[in-house]
């Protein structure tokens, strides 16, 4: 099977079109606390919205102002300008910027009487029993709304099958990441991120087949031997593999990441208690370490970064902060000394959604890599 589709990072409507041609619905998803298993179990294709390649966002700017992060404005731009052809959007309350992308998209759509589906669930920012119970109630409401919307009924069997599919994806991506945890990986950071981004707009069955085909062929790939530093990239939502290419062109190799469009959502497999499937879903989505939007996972996220550095032999961490992204902005206070303690330097770089400052990034990445080499 030709798996080249995995490396096409631009937003593609191909899979959605094929899905909708079967008379089924497709919904945009903003942020990563919406359990996609529920959507799949109701035959709805979830498409995680992104802003990849958005160089200008006049509509996004007009609605959200230039004080919003360019990623959020870019997502809104793509929703409004028809880049996405979806039946609506489901979101959880992630960062405020992503929340406003949803608010504005809903407002514009309703004003135009498009009759699309918009729904927001509250995802708690703490991980205790009370919070989990609350999240389960939110999920029940979501299910009820989606059942009406899709004219489908959710059953435990369908839900378990959808979870099994997603878990399979998680395991396969972990295998992709294992390929990066060797001396001379056969896959660049740019390609790895592209593979993970493909999950956002590819139907799950097709995605599993593509991943399997890639993994089967991985041994035939040529190991990368000309790089000078093993790097990890962490920080704000990064949906542009070109960003990693700039770094890798300067001699670094990104072998690990801590990104919500990258490895993070795949790092943990969901354990399912057959007697409490929704409880399992709630527990999984609240406790997996994806993003510092939670109040009580900071230490764990930072520890995971440090542990990954040790496990993957990381020589430097690049911490990219999207301008106006506070969510990912404040991790350095305790992370930096923790990394220092294991001898890993950290480079902090600001960025925008589009690669306007690629030249500056290249210079800084090169200097950082040289510093590591010495």
């Amino acid at each position: 099977m030709d798996y080249q589709k995995l490396f096409k990072s631009e937003i593609s409507g191909e899979s959605v079109k094929a899905w909708k041609a079967q008379g089924k619905k497709a919904l945009g998803v903003i942020c990563c606390h919406v359990p996609v298993e529920i959507l799949y179990a109701l035959d709805i294709m979830p498409v995680r919205i992104r802003a990849t390649g958005c160089t200008e966002s006049p509509d996004g700017d007009a609605w959200m102002s230039t004080f919003s992060c360019s990623y959020a404005r870019g997502m809104l731009q793509y929703v409004l300008d028809g880049t996405y052809d979806l039946d609506g959007i489901v979101t959880s309350d992630g960062c405020m910027m992503a929340a406003r992308t949803f608010d504005n998209a809903e407002h514009v759509s309703k004003k135009a009487n498009e009759g699309k589906f918009f729904y927001q669930i509250g995802a708690p920012r703490k991980t205790g029993a009370l919070e989990q119970e609350f999240f389960v109630r939110e999920l029940k409401d979501l299910i009820a709304e989606l059942e009406k919307f899709s004219d489908n009924k959710l059953t435990d069997e369908k839900l378990k099958a959808a979870i099994a599919n997603e878990n399979e994806v998680r395991v396969l991506i972990q295998q992709v990441n294992a390929l990066r945890n060797v001396k001379n990986p056969a896959i660049s950071g740019e390609d790895a991120l592209s593979i993970m981004l493909a999950s956002t707009n590819c139907a799950v069955d097709e995605y599993i087949e593509l991943l399997k085909a890639f993994l089967a062929d991985a041994k035939n790939r040529t190991p990368i031997t000309d790089k000078r530093a093993r790097l990890m990239v962490i920080g704000s939502a990064l949906d542009n593999p070109g960003y990693l290419k700039v770094i890798e062109d300067k001699g670094g190799l990104v072998v690990a990441d801590d990104l919500c469009y990258g490895s993070k959502p795949f790092n943990h497999v969901m354990d399912v208690d057959d007697k409490d499937i929704l409880g399992s879903i709630a527990n999984y989505y609240l406790t997996r370490l994806v993003c510092p939007r939670m109040l009580d996972n900071r230490k764990a996220i930072q520890k995971e970064i440090v542990d990954t550095c040790k496990e993957y032999g990381i020589e430097g961490v690049i911490y990219e902060k999207m301008q106006y992204c506070e969510c990912w902005g404040g991790e350095s206070m305790y992370l930096e000394p923790d990394l220092k303690a294991i001898g890993v330097p950290m480079l902090i770089v600001e960025r925008e959604e589009h690669l306007a400052n690629a030249g500056q990034l290249a210079i800084r990445a090169e200097a950082f890599i040289e510093m590591i080499e010495k």
């Binding site: 959200m64 004080f67 509250g122 902005g329």
Partner: protein, 431 residues
Amino acid sequence: MAKDTRLEDAVMAGELSVFDFCCEKIEGQMERMKEKNPDLLWTLQIQYDMWHQVRDAHKNGKKLVFFGGPVPVDIIVAFDCVPVYLDTVPIRLSPNPTLTGKFIDSAEKYVPATTCGLCKTYLGTAIEEQYGVTPDAFVYSSVPCDSSRVVYPNMERIFNVPTFSFDQPFRRDDRGLEYLVDQNEQFVTWMEDFTGTKLDWDKMKETMTNANRTYELQGKCADLRKRKPCPLPGRMLVMNGTTNAMSCYPEMANLLEKELETGEMLSEMGMGPCPDGEKHRVALLQNMLWSFSGAMDWMEKEYGAVTVMDAFGYQHGELYEHMDDRHDCMKTIARKMQNSPMIHGAAGPTENYIYLVDKIFKDYEPDVSIFLGHIGCKHTWASAKIVTDMIQDRYGIPTLYLDVDGIDGRYKTHDEITGALGQYFETVVNK
């Protein structure tokens, strides 16, 4: 005569703590007021009480509970602890850009420069170890915004004291309220552990009674502002921030009683803060401009434009009804948390913000709409078009957008701000 900057210099040099500064500053202001305008001494008393209560808490055998965001202050007070609302520090320092600048610059070593100035200032004060008092506990909430969500957990680690955090849902319905009720009960248990005492319901009733009196009076003062002319000056809206920390103390109600009395008197005489009479009524769609509250006076003087209400400070003033019914009280607290300044409009979906602003336009009948957008508050900027389109559609009023930093006065000079406001009045409002 050159301005006496000894206190400011001492803070800059790290020799004077922020709370000592606040105490000494208000003492000086009161001395001067006693000489020049003794009738207005009451306007300063609450600040005197608040800063001294914090500074002297340990001396008085009380525990200090620092807090950020909407938390059940009434419960903290019922446990005989002193609540310290973090926001009051940046608000107090903001008229002096050099002082806020010191703490903001310090915080920017760790958080993005685009983080809200409020959060940067209280984080910076912690980094510089310049509060002057040590918190015994820290309580915070998951709202209002991304800035606070980043800064509070960092401060939790700096303070390294017993900490409780609230997860505030965006839902304003019964489920959201009950979720907060459950957390409030958890908080009571936590406070019992922390203080080693049981919650005394009689003491709770006392604080609730005080809070009711405060919010009843605050509601009446807010209602006064609906009158034409509006008898109270725009800058008094800034007091709403203090209410958050002080509502359970009789001193707060005393101040509001005075405010109400004065307002009533002025209203009866047909007077307001505009020297040449009220020509315009301004609604501020976002924060008060703490770093330059003189802008309110300036609009009153130059354009007869009184600020009748701001969308962040405005509160509906929830009152306790059944004080013997613990669950009902906890639910009222939950409602207060959801309706507290900044949270009600800014923290959730834009529809909350629309509801609040629409209410202001209905109740206060402003004819001038100004989005004095604090740049840290990016999420309100991202809702601004929806909100201002609504104002234009429903009330036919265009809105001026002006980017400011409500805390960091270095962002724009006073002249730049009044210049932009003046131009708007000349070319749009008075055209």
